[in-house]
Subunit: 360 residues, 2 copies
């Protein structure tokens, strides 16, 4: 697609998939699916739609090398390292600057690095249609995912009237973003059929982006312009190192989306999965007749509903049920499936150990 | 002690402590206690009582090097490798031959390699007294351990009338060996106060040994004599390689002890522990306030009564109770405490895997 650029946000922390993911090896680097890192899959998903040299990846500075390795054909100069963590809005401002400099008519697809999409063809169709809408109109296109369960872990987009048009993808005028709901609200949203998960994917022209930033976040607009004026990678890095630490940490939802009314939602039905927990990972693998999911080597006797990730060693289980067992090269997690989310709390305790740095 | 020789039987299998122990690294080599292998502790226990050059260790041929390393000061020529597994009676016949050749007046202490004794002083006292009794009388001294619970995993010795004498150790005439009892019988034995665990330790003169073998097991008596006639280690090995395969596999209890009536039991009260299972191992370590025993590195959140052996990696547990978790360098066992014994069955399944040899 002419003028289409992708910017993959690949910051990420290593908490939910500890010990397989760590600070030094966040979720986008784990290779549980198709044997390749999620980031690699995210880049591959754009094949035939956006050429590799028009793909940018924004990550933490310390992860630039690994990111370049996982992002395969993406040119090294397109891998941008953030000197510190500042949430999505600053990263998106940088993305806007990068593309603006290169192509004032550019359309930027803000994408994520650590999610799965089972129907790549539909994803590409949705993306292509979104780019066209964004190129021709003063709108921000956001992807809304049809909920499949009453999730409390995502923000939602309320869909309004359909946008008239001849695309395969359905577009709706957005009636607003809503924050993560409680369980009752989530069920209400699910049943209404009008609420969609906010997947954090936005497609907008640099023109629309600049205007939105200028109005809603002048400091980020300034950063965007500084980046757009840079000559080369080194100058870019200097600007980032100078500007970033002073920025506030703020998401694009809070900084922009909640303050604009020109949002159009593309209905995304491409098997999107945030794979936000070990049980979610297990959902992508076939279970044995006792409900056990094994990635790697495992021998079980009288066991059921366990999730075992054991690629470098043999795990032998007797008489245990509903456990998550995950080994990394130097640590092992064992917990009931329904407590897998508490690993975040555990990580803080591990980090506080004298030798904690080795493990988190 | 003049004329006293020790023969430590160190065959052993690697089943009960899998994955820490394996075929190539049986129980006597695991270093959970005092940081040293059980075999090393067994040798150290003789310090000051039997000089190192009068200690022999009989093990499997494939384990001779590791045995020599763990047995520290014991001369290499005193480490005897059995070409195949044939239970205790043939090994004891060999022991008798070795000592007979060296010292016709020798008293042989048959000892075990993979048990713990917390009161070394009392053990040495008991051993010294037993050697004296065995040197002066035509008896086989066996050590009987005062039971502390109704064990079904040991054979028992029924103690009869006390043996008159001036030793610190109490000796009783044995009224016979009985096999492993069922639970009711075991409780009866415990309450009677007259039954003691057969710990597999025997002290007898080569003269008494030869006579008993000649009467009860002529084939083993022949082996004993062949060994006694050997000149040097190489000839010994040749004899073993030639004779052993044809021998029946039989324990000393069946071969001799059940057929003789000159057995005297030394009452052993030196904190003997067979440490036959992971829960038994845990009993030798201090638990935290939630009953968890950790050997190595472990972080636990809302956990109780777990046994964790994690010396080379960090084990992180959330909300699990009563589990045994043991890591070796290439395998991990997870099971409830009360099913730890089923690991034997599991090992057979693991051995049947295409890559099973790596793990068992």
């Amino acid at each position: 697609m002419k003028n289409a650029y992708a910017v993959i946000l690949a910051g990420g922390s290593g908490e939910r998939f500890w010990p397989l993911s760590t600070k030094a090896r966040p979720k986008q680097f784990i290779s549980l699916f198709s044997g390749r890192p999620l980031l690699t899959l995210a880049v591959e998903r754009l094949e035939g739609v956006i050429p590799a040299d028009r793909i940018y990846v924004i990550t933490a500075e310390r992860l630039v090398d690994d990111t370049a390795a996982a992002a395969r054909n993406v040119p090294r100069v397109n891998i941008i390292g953030e000197p510190c963590k500042r949430d999505t809005a600053p990263a998106i401002a940088v993305a806007c600057g990068l593309v603006k400099k290169r192509d004032p008519e550019g359309v930027v697809c803000i994408l994520t690095a650590d999610q799965l999409m089972s129907d790549m063809q539909t994803f590409q169709r949705t993306l292509t249609d979104s780019v066209e809408i964004a190129a021709r109109n003063d709108v921000i296109v956001t992807m809304g995912i049809q909920p499949t369960y009453p999730a409390t872990g995502f923000g939602y987009i309320r869909a309004g009237a359909p946008v008239e048009g001849a695309t395969v993808t359905e577009f709706y005028h957005s009636e607003g973003f809503v924050e993560k709901p409680d369980e009752d609200k989530a069920l209400e949203y699910l049943n209404s059929g009008r609420y969609f998960w906010n997947a954090g994917m936005f497609i907008w022209s640099t023109r629309v982006m600049s205007a939105a930033l200028a109005r809603c976040a002048p400091d980020l607009c300034e950063l965007c312009d500084l980046i757009a004026e840079c000559e080369g990678y080194d100058e870019q890095s200097e600007v980032l190192n100078r500007s970033y630490p002073a920025l506030r940490s703020i998401s694009i939802d809070y900084a922009v989306m909640e303050h604009v009314d020109n949002i159009v939602m593309a209905r995304g039905s491409f098997g999107w999965d945030d794979v936000g927990s070990w049980p979610a990972v297990a959902g992508h693998f076939a279970a044995d007749m006792n409900g056990n999911v094994v990635i790697g080597s495992c021998e079980q006797m009288d066991c059921s509903n366990n999730i075992v990730v054991s690629e470098e060693r043999l795990t032998a289980l007797i008489g245990v049920r509903g456990l998550v067992v995950v080994h990394s090269d130097n640590a092992t997690l064992i917990c009931p499936r329904d407590r897998a989310e508490q690993v975040k709390k555990l990580i803080r305790r591990i980090a506080a150990r004298p030798d904690g740095e080795k493990y988190v």
